[in-house]
């Protein structure tokens, strides 16, 4: 009956949790992932849809490795499209990228924050305002619902300029400083700061932008704003493979658990799963009851020894060795009277020999003991050593090993 109560309680608890979780689900996930399969506002599902229309000869794909790895190990770099909140390449990646450009390739890097060799070597600084807009969902929602809009002016060819209006959230970053001789400015924001630049002086072309959000579902699905994204994507040559490199936003897309090694080997995998299963079985079966519950009944405890110890300690603290010695001699005398039928009111040589013959103890040890006893009887001061000596003597007499 008691078990049932617990089960009902547990089920109710789980039900409550499920209900509360379901009520939560109305919230929108505003985190920016730029992932090809994400349909959340700042995912990139729509962009991939758009791209497969644009590049129908070589449908674009996603990769989850660094540029260096793609270049060296796989040697299929394609034309990289990097969309991320922040990009910080190391030297290997940067060199791989530059080699690719040098060989006539194309690359587009769009990030709200760019640091490392890329920014340093090429010579630009990205400035970001309202950093919290990257992660604070409430601020994002407020920014999007607000009226504030900003215009981005795109100028791809010399004479043709186009204007697109964006919510400020998309344009929080811009290039605060660029080396004029290295770059062409392709697009500027309302304050005339560049947001899209192209690197010149190499065979291929490298485009760097600070407005990654324009590639997200939210903005691509807008009628007007999608055109800007399309315009940027059309910077890639139509007949070459575009690779959306998601490594810089999401990292490697493989099992991240420390069990990776174990699970990758079939033999270890067997071992692991057998172990796991056995532990589970062990917990389940070993916890099963083998006999009924026996409630704990504390048995009566005999406290006499504790009483003796407490009392003993109390006397020990007083250190009245004589008093204790007298007690012990009293007990000993009683022992002698009862066991050997000897009078204990007068000690002498006669007594010693009698006691020796009756108890079977050597006369010498009896005499030694008697000397101590006499000292105690006479009222002499007893030292610690003498008390120990008495203990040893009595132990010998009583035959305590």
């Amino acid at each position: 009956m008691k078990d049932k109560k617990y089960v009902i309680f547990l089920v109710a608890l789980i039900a409550l949790y499920v209900v509360s979780e379901m009520r939560k689900s109305g919230q929108v996930n505003w985190s920016s992932t730029y992932h090809e399969e994400h349909k959340i506002p700042f995912g990139a599902f729509a962009m991939h849809d758009l791209m497969s229309d644009m590049f129908d000869q070589a449908p674009p794909k996603s990769e989850y490795k660094t540029l260096y790895e793609l270049a060296v190990e796989d040697s299929t770099m394609g034309n990289p499209l990097i969309i991320a909140d922040g990009v910080a390449m190391d030297n290997n990646d940067f060199n791989a990228l530059m080699r690719h450009i040098d060989l006539g390739g194309t690359a587009l890097i769009s990030a709200r924050n760019i640091q490392g060799p890329l920014a340093d070597s090429l010579g630009f600084i990205v400035r970001m305002e309202d950093a919290e807009l990257a992660y604070d969902f409430r601020a994002i929602q407020e920014a999007l619902s607000g009226e504030l809009e900003e215009t981005i002016t795109l100028n791809l060819t010399d004479n043709e300029t186009k204007e697109f209006s964006y919510s400020t959230i998309a344009t929080t970053s811009y290039f605060s400083q660029i080396e004029k001789e290295n770059f062409d400015v392709l697009a500027v924001n309302a304050t005339n700061s560049p947001v899209l630049i192209s690197y010149k002086g190499m065979k291929g072309s490298l485009y760097v932008s600070t407005i990654p959000l324009v590639f997200t579902n939210y903005f691509i699905l807008g009628e007007e704003t999608s055109q800007f994204a399309a315009a940027m994507l059309s910077l890639f040559p139509e007949d070459e493979l575009v690779v959306h490199n998601e490594y810089y936003q999401l990292g490697r897309r493989e099992v991240q658990s420390p069990l990776r090694v174990i699970l990758s080997n079939p033999s270890l995998k067997w071992a692991f799963f057998i172990l796991l299963f056995t532990v589970f079985i062990f917990m389940f079966f070993e916890s099963k009851r083998r006999q009924r519950i026996i409630p704990l009944i504390t048995p009566l405890k005999n406290m006499s020894v504790e009483f003796v110890e407490t009392l003993g300690r109390l006397y020990y603290r007083q250190k009245d060795h004589r008093k204790l010695a007298v007690k012990r001699v009293q007990y000993w005398k009683d022992y002698v009277r009862v066991h050997f039928n000897l009078k204990t009111d007068h000690f002498g040589d006669r007594f010693n020999t009698d006691l020796s013959s009756k108890s079977g103890q050597p006369l010498k040890s009896i005499e030694a003991l008697m000397e101590l006893v006499k000292r105690i009887e006479e009222g002499a001061v007893i030292s610690e050593d003498e008390l120990i000596k008495l203990e040893k003597g009595l132990n010998g007499f009583y035959g305590i090993e």
Binding site: S267, I297, L300, N302, G312, L324
Partner: protein
């Protein structure tokens, strides 16, 4: 559902699993071992299946019956028998866990045995209860495993059983025979000196060598033509009251059994012997007031009455009031009786408080004050002291033991008989005292 509940797993299963894990780990380096391990894995799986089938194919494969007496004797070893039959067509390994009464607090009792097909075996064990009252046996859990020994099946057999634990009737029977045949001395239990002679005539019988020739009945000898002697017997129909102190001082346990239960066991023994000797036995219990008086009588029913009376005794371990005892004895027990007072004094001052009442009781009755040597303290005395502090403890222990002897002297000085006894030897010493007092004709 039921078969899931009765499904258990042996250690062999875990050893096998462990071995497999080990083999597979080695298989990481030597791939051919991984193949072997895989084969072993499937083989063990098959074994598991076969084992389960063997065990669970049959229901009621094991029969068990628990046999024990309806009443248990307190403080003694009481035998319990389990009779088990294997009805499986194969021989089995059994592990039996009997659900013992919770008062025993035994959690680790189990029996392992092998049982051939159709074989019947018996498990005998003993339980030693230390408290009176109702004891509840549960089921007997039998865990069955086959020669494969991977799976275990639990049978819950036997039936729940209630046993009443009574004051020690085993001791009662044991001492009864010894006391009747005057064997207590020969048995080496204790040597006592019998003083005095009884003068109550019983019969004239033929002389056999060893009879006291001072008691030759010459007239009868002359009539019969061979030696005849008078035979005398102990006086009969004297009252023997076991007075049991149920107070605080009797709570102290020795070997799990409280002094009170020692006293109760012993009063049952002594009552039985008194009844057998033709005396009247009665019981008085008291603590802060007199709780119960069972008047002394020598009817046939009396022993059963005493047993039930003692079984029922409840204890609060309150402080005892001897004045109430004195008043009750004065009013209810009018005939001079042997009063065996079971109590305990730990110190001389404790005795001094009660001494006036004891002396008053003694004026009317033959009072035997029974109290206990503290064997726990005595253990301290017989141990070697390692340091000065322990020497002090030993000294104190000796003083406490010595004080008990002073209590005896003090009581004897007031004409009160005493028994100072270790709890275990209480019954023997009490019987001896009873026999001694009777033969001395002191009652």
């Amino acid at each position: 559902m039921n078969s899931v509940r009765s499904f258990y797993i042996t250690n062999r299963f875990f050893y096998a699993a462990g071995t497999l894990v080990f083999l597979f780990i080695i298989g990481f380096a030597l791939p051919w071992i991984a193949v072997v391990a895989e084969v072993i894995f499937y083989l063990s799986l098959a074994c598991l299946l076969i084992d389960t089938l063997l065990l669970f194919r049959i229901n009621d494969g094991i029969e068990l019956e628990r046999l024990c007496t309806e009443k248990f004797s307190n403080g003694d070893d009481n035998p319990v028998r389990l009779i088990i039959e294997n009805r499986y067509p194969i021989s089995l390994h059994l592990r039996v866990i009997d659900e013992l009464p919770e008062q025993l607090q035994i959690r680790d009792q189990q029996f392992d045995l092998d049982l051939g097909s159709g074989e019947v075996k018996e498990i005998n064990y003993k339980v030693r209860p230390v408290k009176r009252g109702e004891y509840q046996f549960g089921f007997a859990n039998v865990f069955v495993s086959t020669f494969l020994g991977i799976v275990r099946r639990r049978y819950q057999l036997g039936e729940e059983q209630t046993v009443a634990v009574y004051p020690s009737f085993i001791q009662m029977r044991k001492y009864e025979l010894l006391a009747i045949s005057n064997q207590l001395q020969e048995f080496g239990v204790k040597k006592i000196r019998r003083i005095g002679n009884n003068m109550e005539f019983e019969q004239i019988k033929n002389y056999v060598s060893g009879d006291d020739y001072r008691k030759v009945n010459w007239k009868a000898t002359a009539r019969k033509g061979h030696l005849m002697v008078n035979q005398y017997q102990d006086e009969r129909s004297q009252q023997v009251y076991s007075v049991i102190d149920k107070g605080r001082v009797m709570q102290m346990p020795f070997e799990g059994l409280s002094l009170l239960d020692y006293a109760i066991n012993s009063s049952l023994v002594i009552s039985n012997i008194a009844l057998k000797k033709g005396d009247k036995a009665g019981i008085v219990t008291f603590q802060q007031k007199v709780n119960s008086i069972l008047p002394a009588s020598s009817r046939n029913m009396q022993l059963n009455l005493i047993l039930e009376h003692l079984y029922k005794q409840k204890t609060g371990y309150k402080e005892t009031d001897y004045s109430k005892l004195y008043i009750a004895l004065k009013r209810k027990v009018t005939q001079r009786s042997l009063v065996l007072l079971y109590t305990n004094f730990e110190s001389l001052s404790a005795l001094k408080r009660q001494l006036p009442f004891l002396r008053r009781i003694r004026q009317q009755h033959l009072l035997v004050c029974i109290f206990f040597q503290n064997t726990e303290v005595e253990k301290v005395i017989h141990k070697k002291a390692e340091d000065l502090e322990e020497v002090y403890m030993k000294g104190i222990a000796e003083q406490l033991a010595f004080e008990k002897k002073l209590i005896v002297k003090e009581l004897q000085a007031h004409g009160i008989h005493t028994i100072l006894t270790p709890p275990k030897e209480l019954s023997v010493n009490t019987i001896n005292k009873y026999l001694e007092l009777k033969s001395r004709g002191l009652i």
